[in-house]
């Protein structure tokens, strides 16, 4: 028996798992309908796929949510996991699920997939016969991913960096890399049985003034960590920056760079998709303004040429959205996409060149780390500040980089910290900003820059 299989058996002989039948699950994946695979829909390339966010604790409510989404003409169903499961606290999730089932009150902020189990969840997923995307935020997602794939969920979001740096203060990053290595291998192995399982990275990170170069570098590194384990379908992603031009430039550069680095490691046969997140920062409380923001995001996603868009709702500012509001966004986004015809092709060569140089310089510094494997190089690069994510709560992150918006709302780097932004690029970034102000006014500007959509 391989080491991986030994580890799988340990992970799956968990008291909260009702006997995992490896052979039956393999048979299920081998015979699964191609409609369940998002990789199949990406390959058809008919339109930008629309995927909302959403997860309820009980089977009944999750089923009802999915019905609403399907009626609103959804392309990809989400399954968002509750916070206890994300922290591997299945005991609390179990208790809260029971409480939610016994009353009308939801006691969990998502679907406790491990507690429901794959036999139950698979019924729902095969019933709707739509691709499902797993949304979570779990540093150790080994059991969750096994349960997801066995349920018929063939897109897995997350990664060791993007699910840790924005969400955790002190979960050990090196452990996260090893746990995600397991996830990549399991996805790669199942991908051999039928169409590829798609892996997706979480590009928004902290969604707070993260400069494009940092986002792209982290997207590329998670992509490489995934492809080197044998994953054949991967989505890089980012969220609306606040400047349409910066979004378009980012889309162009990330697509080029993803192709380039995949080829560098001999994985050019893998398919790389682009996912765009509607505005991930603070939303306006005025619900009509929120809808306007959502529509603007959709237009930009079309300009960026995204393969999939992940939506928000008009209720974003006030908490977890109702299924009605959620379905409404799906229908509206589909409508907007349908009427967006004859889009112009915008290319900003100067900005593209600057961003490409920044990305290449950081990537080179990561590859030049003396460690023997890619994950260790990446780990060291985060630890020594070569990669620095603004506003990450994690203790390993350096938090030395400072960014502000320029007059066109582009995110610019005014303090590079330990990140090897080339001098020429750094001067270019700073030349776009008014740096004559004192720190107190710059802090006021930053507060304003974070909340521009409110």
């Amino acid at each position: 028996m391989s080491l991986l299989q030994e580890e799988r058996e340990i992970i799956l002989s968990n008291e909260y798992v009702d006997s995992f039948d490896f052979a039956e699950v393999e048979e299920f994946v081998r015979g699964a309908d191609k409609e369940l695979f998002i990789s199949h829909h990406f390959a058809q390339n008919k339109k930008m796929l629309v995927q909302p966010r959403g997860g309820f604790p009980t089977y009944k409510k999750q089923f009802a949510l999915n019905e609403f989404f399907v009626n609103a003409n959804v392309d990809v169903l989400p399954l968002t996991i509750d916070s206890n499961t994300r922290l591997n606290d299945y005991a609390t999730a179990k208790k809260m699920l029971r409480l939610s089932e016994e009353s009308e009150q939801d006691m969990l902020n998502g679907y406790p997939l491990v507690n429901h189990g794959y036999r139950t969840t698979r019924k729902m997923i095969t019933h709707f016969n739509k691709p499902v995307s797993l949304r979570h935020g779990t540093p150790d997602a080994r059991l969750l991913i096994e349960t997801a794939i066995a349920s018929g969920i063939f897109e897995i979001e997350g990664g060791p960096i993007t699910y840790l740096l924005p969400y955790s203060k002190n979960f050990p990053l090196d452990k996260a890399f090893l746990y995600w290595k397991y996830v990549e291998r399991v996805c790669a192995n199942y991908s051999k049985l039928n169409l590829p399982i798609n892996r997706e990275s979480f590009g928004p990170l902290t969604a707070t003034l993260v400069p494009p170069a940092i986002t792209i570098v982290i997207q590329l590194l998670e992509m490489l960590l995934s492809l080197e384990e044998g994953v054949k379908s991967f989505s890089v992603s980012f969220s609306q920056t606040g400047s349409m031009n910066q979004d378009i430039v980012m889309g162009a550069v990330i697509k080029k760079m993803a192709k380039y680095y995949a080829k560098e490691i001999g994985c050019e046969d893998a398919v790389v998709n682009l996912v765009y997140h509607q505005w991930m920062g603070a939303f306006p409380t005025n619900k009509d303004f929120a809808e306007s923001l959502i529509n603007t995001s959709t237009v930009i996603a079309a300009m960026v040429g995204a393969n999939k868009i992940i939506t928000k709702t008009r209720e974003e500012a006030s908490g977890i959205p109702t299924k009605e509001a959620n379905a409404k966004t799906v229908a509206n986004t589909q409508y907007t996409l349908g009427i967006l015809n004859g889009l112009p092709n915008i290319v900003d060569e100067e900005e593209e060149e600057n961003l490409t140089l920044e990305v290449k310089a950081i990537m080179e510094a990561v590859f030049n780390d003396e460690a023997d494997t890619l994950w260790r190089k990446v780990f060291n690069s985060i630890k020594n500040g070569t990669i620095d994510v603004p506003f990450s709560p994690h203790i390993i992150n350096h938090n030395e980089m400072i960014t502000i918006r320029d007059a066109n709302k582009n995110i610019r780097i005014i303090n590079r910290g330990g990140v090897p932004i080339p001098d020429r690029c750094f001067l270019y970034e700073k030349s776009k900003c008014d740096l004559t102000k004192d720190t107190t006014s710059i802090v006021n500007d930053i507060i304003h820059d974070i909340g521009i959509m409110q």
Binding site: K169, F391, P393, I395, T439, T440, V443, I446, I447
Partner: protein, 137 residues
Amino acid sequence: MKVVTGVVGNDIHVVANRLIELSLNARGFEVFNLGVNTYLEEFFDAAVETGADVLLISSLNGEAEGWAREVKLLKSKYKTLDDIVMVIGGNLVVGTADADTIVPKYKNYGFDLVFHQVDLNTGLDTLEEYLKQRDVA
């Protein structure tokens, strides 16, 4: 002047915490930022370790009161913290309540300065003024 700061309890709201650090640095303080999700013991330990003059605790999710109740008791166990200036700020209540009820409550818990939903620079101006007055006295 040394300041220990951080966000108290199981609160992971990091944005203001970074801005507080930036602003304090800009005003010439030496800042020891413990970040989000920090327990009271960690604050006091850090204050002793650094010889801090000011302990600036912040909170956004509103759960600060549960922690603040224990400040006096816990602080009394440390021998060298009698002169430290205790400051708390942010959103100091779950739900809504006005400053007139919140400020005296937190002063009673052992804080010298209390800022409930006060703008960052106004709060830091008040802190600087307070430190100046204290030095004169």
